[in-house]
């Protein structure tokens, strides 16, 4: 006997299903769907709670919070329940409350979608926190709700302030730079018997370098100074040192006397501000071509003598300014000849490094002098700058750079 036909088997299985014994025979139940929605809600809740912004759901008519996220509780140092029982005006300033409620009340009719208010929130401790609040109006089941997203803008405020201060500072520094540059000699004086050129470039806005040249009868006074550091303090001290230098030169003092006087006058200020000055000061007599000089710890200037095509370093005993009072500076004198060059400079030149720790040094400087000694002082300065820049590979240079070149005719 054969088994039941296919048709009979279909009948049998369909009948089983109709009776309700099928795998999927299930009365209507919303529980699986509810469970799924609850899971979704839980995930969504995590999303909302993990937001850095504080989120409040406000029932407009009763002006009560209906829901708040964890960030809101954390920022306000309140438990969720405490926060839900808190009135709007206990957290927000009055003007923010009235503006929000007005926006929410009129919002829908006026086609308004959202409003952003910069205000503050009050913590339980009374501390005020600057915030930006964005409010949107939404309708659930015919009831109006406001969704307020509140963002702590303390950090933003701080950053804005810093940015503002920086730009203000930058402006001030630029101004200081202009003032400082204006304190330098505008152009070399035209003096029979010598040609002069000067150059000074602070590495940052203001620097501690300074140079000077001026004429007293047949004397040409020259000086180059370097106040330690590139700070505003150094710049101010430079200005002060300049004034003292000029005043001392005006008294007719010799180079050594000028340095002694400067040290006595500036010592206290330098000590207080923990700054030092190195300065080289010289007077050249255009009649007899004698150079009288004294040095307060400054890099020894380079004397190029055409005769012999050689470099000499002019040193003289003397302590840097600002160490102690009553310092006597050795004063030396030498004879110069036509074609000789005197180069005063700051350590920005000789201590420029090539990135591998090697310094520009005296030898390179001397080489330039030997090859360029026929050129004008300005051309010599330009050549030195070019070589130094090529050597260090950095423009601008890392240190203040100052040079004075005097050529004896």
């Amino acid at each position: 006997m054969s088994g039941p036909s296919e048709e009979t088997r279909t009948w049998e299985s369909e009948r089983e299903k109709i009776i309700g014994l099928g795998e999927r025979s299930l009365r209507k139940t919303y529980y699986p769907e509810l469970q799924q929605k609850l899971d979704e809600l839980e995930r969504f809740r995590a999303l909302i709670d993990q937001s850095n912004d504080c989120i409040f759901l406000l029932h407009v008519q009763s002006s009560r919070f209906i829901d708040v996220n964890e960030s809101a509780c954390r920022e306000l140092s309140l438990t969720r329940q405490e926060l839900l029982n808190t009135r709007l005006d206990q957290i927000f300033p009055d003007e923010a409350v009235s503006r929000s409620m007005e926006s929410l009340a009129n919002g829908l009719e006026q086609g308004w979608e959202r409003d952003t208010i910069t205000t503050s929130i009050r913590r339980k401790s009374g501390e005020e926190l600057p915030v930006e609040m964005t409010i949107r109006v939404v309708t659930f089941q015919k009831e109006l709700y406001g969704v307020a997203v509140v963002r702590d803008i303390t950090e933003r405020r701080r950053a804005e302030k810093v940015l503002l201060e920086n730009s203000r500072m930058l402006r001030d520094m630029e101004l200081a730079k202009q003032i400082q540059l204006s304190l330098l000699p505008t152009a070399p004086p035209e003096i029979p018997g010598v040609t002069l050129a000067g150059y000074c470039l602070p590495a940052t806005h203001v620097g501690g370098d300074y140079y000077h040249f001026s004429q007293r009868d047949h004397l040409v006074d020259l000086a180059v100074a370097d106040v330690s550091g590139h700070s505003i303090g150094a710049a101010l001290m430079t200005a002060e040192a300049r004034a003292v230098l000029r005043a001392q030169l005006a008294t007719g003092s010799s180079a050594g006397q000028v340095l002694t006087a400067m040290n006595d006058i500036l010592n206290e200020d330098l000590g207080r501000s923990e700054l030092f000055i190195t300065i080289f000061c010289a007077s050249f007599n255009t009649k007899c071509r004698t150079l009288t000089y004294a040095n307060a710890g400054h890099s020894p200037p380079l004397l190029y003598r055409q005769r012999g095509n050689a470099c000499h370093w002019l040193d003289a005993d003397g302590m840097i300014l600002g160490i102690r009072e009553n310092v006597i500076f050795e004063e030396r004198q030498l004879q110069m000849e036509s074609g000789d060059l005197l180069l005063l400079y700051t350590d920005g030149i000789t201590e420029a490094d090539d990135g591998s720790g090697q310094l520009f040094g005296n030898e390179r400087l001397c080489k330039i002098m030997r090859s360029c000694h026929k050129e004008s002082p300005q051309t010599i300065i330009d050549s030195i700058l070019l070589k130094v820049a090529a050597f260090s590979g950095t423009i601008p240079l890392e240190d203040d750079v100052t040079m004075v070149v005097m050529k004896v005719e």
Partner: protein, 387 residues
């Protein structure tokens, strides 16, 4: 030892409230089910009778928004379901109240299915094809017949294929049926007869169904008995609420029986007919019933004997053939007296269509619980005899 007396059976019934003015509870139930905006599904006849406006008034009393969908015809069409579902979505509804006979209720079930499961209603044809729970559905029947308010069936006409599809799923058993005999007082005598005979077929077919159970038997026999003794009195005294109530109760009982035991060849063949020519469902059933009994009788003669007794035939110690003859004659008298006596040919069917009708009947899920498995030729022969 196998105990054949207790095969596995399931019984599913919705909560139902039966009694005078049950319809007025619509608002309360809609509210308790979480209804916010209700789609009321009804048809123009019910609207004219005023039942749908009474239901919407009840919704308003409970503060529930509503929108009404009237676009339902008898033998509801797939496109009507789609239109209703579109309205449901557009209006943001979340619950459905059906007010009417089998057509609005089946359409409402279809709208519920499409609104949560998406797609086209014809995609859900068959058994247990509905995956997602449908929105809360409250049914307020206004006929004593279809019992769609308690059943797991929805019959929708696919106009493209000109066929009725059966959707059978416990998911579409309504959440509550508010069964109010008062609503049947507006029925014409034709509709009263057609719907009551539909209920009678439900009782008879579920009683002989191969999926019947002790519980469905109780309801089926009681329904047959009540319809047999109350149909003609109701037709002669249509305003009598006692008669109306008894028919309504019988319809409920028949519904509880057939929803769980399912039906048989009469409904399979009637669905085929209704799909082709939009003929009244109750009338199709009634016209086919005696001929199907002739075919089925040999399979379960004892059960037909109980049916004959419930119809008032004193079977005593009658031979099986005599019982069949007596049953046949009793039914013919009842149908005739109820005004259902046109032959099938008068319903706008031609004999040429019989093979196609038989083919569709073979595919109808109601056939699977028929006590005797017919061949296609046997179904064609039954249609022939009904002509």
């Amino acid at each position: 030892m196998a105990v054949n007396e207790f095969p596995l059976r399931k019984f599913v019934a919705p909560e139902f409230i039966f009694g005078m003015d049950a319809r007025t509870l619509a608002g309360r139930y809609a509210k308790n089910f979480g209804g916010r905006k209700v789609l009321v599904v009804t048809d123009p006849g019910v609207r004219t009778a005023g039942w749908s406006s009474q239901v919407t008034a009840s919704l308003e009393e409970s503060g529930i928004d509503h929108v009404t969908f009237y676009g339902v015809t008898s033998n509801p069409k797939a496109e009507e379901v789609a239109a209703g579902a579109a309205l449901y979505r557009r209006e943001g509804c979340n619950a459905i109240v059906a007010v009417g006979g089998g057509s609005p209720m089946d359409c409402a079930k279809g709208i519920g299915i499409v609104s949560t499961n998406h797609g086209d209603i014809v995609d859900f044809e068959g058994v247990d094809r509905v995956e997602q729970s449908t929105p809360p559905l409250i049914c307020i029947p206004t006929t004593a017949g279809s019992a769609a308010d308690v059943s797991q069936f929805a019959i929708i006409t696919d106009s493209v294929r000109q066929t009725k599809i059966a959707i059978i799923s416990k998911m579409i058993v309504p959440d509550v049926a508010l069964i109010d005999p008062v609503t049947t007082t507006s029925l014409s005598s034709d509709l009263t007869a057609q719907t009551a005979l539909d209920a009678l077929c439900h009782g008879i077919e579920s009683y002989v169904s191969t999926a019947h159970s002790a519980i469905t038997d109780l309801y089926a026999i009681q329904a047959i008995r009540a319809i047999s003794s109350n149909l003609l009195p109701t037709l002669s005294d249509p305003g009598n609420l006692a008669f109306r109530g008894r028919l309504m109760l019988a319809s409920l009982e028949a519904g509880l029986a057939f929803s769980n035991a399912s039906l048989g060849l009469v409904h399979a063949m009637a669905h085929s007919l209704g799909g082709m020519n939009d003929a009244p469902h109750g009338e199709c059933n009634a016209l086919l019933l005696p001929h199907v009994i002739d075919f089925n009788f040999p399979a379960v003669p004892e059960r037909y004997a109980r049916i004959a007794e419930a119809l008032g035939v004193a079977t005593g110690d009658m031979a099986a053939n005599d019982i069949l003859a007596a049953l046949h004659s009793r039914l013919s008298c009842l149908l005739h007296a109820a005004g259902i006596h046109r032959p099938l040919g008068n319903l706008g069917i031609s004999r040429d269509e019989i093979p196609a009708l038989a083919g569709k009947a073979m595919d109808d899920p109601c056939i699977f619980t028929n006590p005797r498995q017919p061949s296609r030729e046997e179904i064609e022969a039954i249609y022939e005899r009904a002509f």
